[in-house]
Symmetry: C2
């Protein structure tokens, strides 16, 4: 039994074995083991609910893998609305022939991150499709969290400071480099990580951002343009305060990308009341010294994002467009 | 704009357009339109949480399509634990080149079923993968429901009657017939449907089954063997009480399948206290006249399922095994 076969997804004895002997080994909790059609949970108050499918290639990359990203990504989406992540579902779509070793590495990675974040994987589904009908493995995770302090995109106010939790574009750069078989001579790693501890640290210090958003597909440009459009606000950014690692800048220059457009998987943007912004920055810097205040909301009209370079020259930071980079997450 | 392009999944302007102009047109509700990273919901008491990925081929089949099945399937999983389905997430993985027409037909189908069942699609995700990296479209739905009366697999008691809500194996037969390009000269349709109204009708009549399970992949055999193993019970079935349509039997005989092993997508098995079984049957028959009492739990040991034919001859109904039929749902 070295590779996943079609019969592992057939709903019969082999699927039962795969679930009981392998999947339950890693996702071990009482709720999952009840084997009901749905998990039964008890949460009081408001809840957050989010979903993401992960199709990243390669499935193992510097700083993470599709398992890690699939758990972190949904944890992060829950955190961004001010929720404490509690429960995840997982749906595997596996290409016939995936090795058990690879699958087990992915399960192990998911289990580790879930445990570190005190999150339980409570329901799941496994499909196997014939060779050539998907690419190794796709993973969907959906998540439920308990709202600690509700944070919504619509609440960004004029004069809010815009902060970022670290340097940008590392995940996108790692993936594009792996994809194009550039030989990375650095130890550049994806920023893929859970943001739960950072968000909880802000809350413990009574910092409640007006809005938060992890800058995944479409990068910083997409988040800020979405915010500008949704709230009809104008955001001014100082280019020099946005940190980009040298290796990332090298890859961007080589391949013609803007770091603002490239995906992050553990870096988030915050809109914060000015009075809280310095304290927030201090807290963010405990996790990544490249965190910084990168700009502010300068008007409650116009729906646009402006980038000012060190010489004072301004340009629009547009919504990313075209085929950025498929299968980044 | 006739086909889905890679750029529709890139996180940039094109994806934004696809979501705002097409997806929001069909999944129109206030929660989704807040465009937060997670939907924010309020539910009191116990909740049910379930997930399924759908990879069925062909994506349009007699009696349904991948959109209908993806909404009904998760609604049904929630109903099976005694929950009223309330909220769904949807994750699309689309192969570059899928036509907008086909995608819109799927969205329309999902929207229709969700509305009929008073279920809101509150969060979603869209990925596009290059041609040849998936097959047209895969859909994950996860769902949240409010527990009305908790129903769990572990509660099946000795002497319970086993009921089924209709004739079996229609979905599996329709898919295998479409797959092998048999020319169906009948109007055989998949049983694909939501079970919400049936379960709610049982509850309204104070019928609370000990357990319920929709007999999808692995069919009736898988459900009953899982129940027998989990509860260490012995189940005796009367073969002649299990209805199979003639066309279904024909397909099974032609292709060497057992109808007990073939998938259903809107037919469920119930374990019911003897005193309630006749009333339950009456209610089930209002929805499908082929509903019947098919057997009973005859022992609280042995973990096995026995099938008795009209001549009184008994055999074990085994767990299905091998490559039943890939991509049935």
């Amino acid at each position: 039994m070295k590779n996943i076969l079609l019969s592992h997804g057939g709903g019969g004895e082999e699927m039962n074995e795969l679930i009981n002997e392998l999947i339950f080994k890693y996702f071990d909790n009482e709720i999952l083991k009840e084997t009901n059609d749905s998990a039964i949970l008890k949460i009081d108050g408001e809840i957050a609910f989010s979903t993401d499918s992960y199709v990243v290639t390669p499935i193992f990359f510097s700083g993470g893998d599709i398992g890690k990203i699939s758990v972190c990504g949904t944890i992060n989406d829950l955190c961004m609305v001010g929720a404490k992540p509690l429960y995840l579902s997982v749906g595997f779509i596996i290409e016939e022939g995936l090795s058990f070793d690879e699958f087990e590495k992915i399960l192990s990675s998911m289990s580790k991150i879930a445990k570190e974040n005190d999150v339980k994987i409570v329901c799941g589904d496994t499909k196997v499709v014939p060779k050539g009908k998907c690419d190794k493995i796709f993973i969907n995770t959906s998540g439920i969290g308990k709202i600690i302090h509700k944070i919504e995109t619509k609440n960004i106010k004029n004069r809010a400071k815009i902060l970022i939790s670290g340097d940008i574009a590392r995940h996108g750069s790692v993936i594009v480099a792996a994809r194009d078989e550039i030989n990375l001579e650095s130890d550049l790693k994806s920023d893929c990580r859970s943001l739960k501890d950072i968000v909880m640290a802000l809350f413990e210090n009574n910092i409640y951002p007006q809005a938060m958003r992890d800058a995944t597909r479409g990068g910083l440009s997409a988040v800020l343009n979405e915010w500008a459009n949704f709230n009809k606000i104008e955001i001014l950014l100082n280019e020099e305060s946005i940190k980009v690692q040298d290796e990332v800048m090298g890859i961007c220059e080589l391949l013609g990308f803007e770091p603002y457009d490239l995906a992050n998987e553990g870096t988030f943007v915050l809109a914060i009341d000015e009075k809280d912004s310095k304290k927030a920055l201090e807290i963010l810097k405990n996790f990544n010294e490249n965190a910084s205040i990168i700009g502010e909301v300068i008007s409650d009209k116009n729906s646009r994002v402006i980038l000012k370079n060190p010489y004072g020259v301004k340009r629009f930071l547009e919504y990313p467009k075209g085929e950025l980079l498929p299968r980044i997450c």
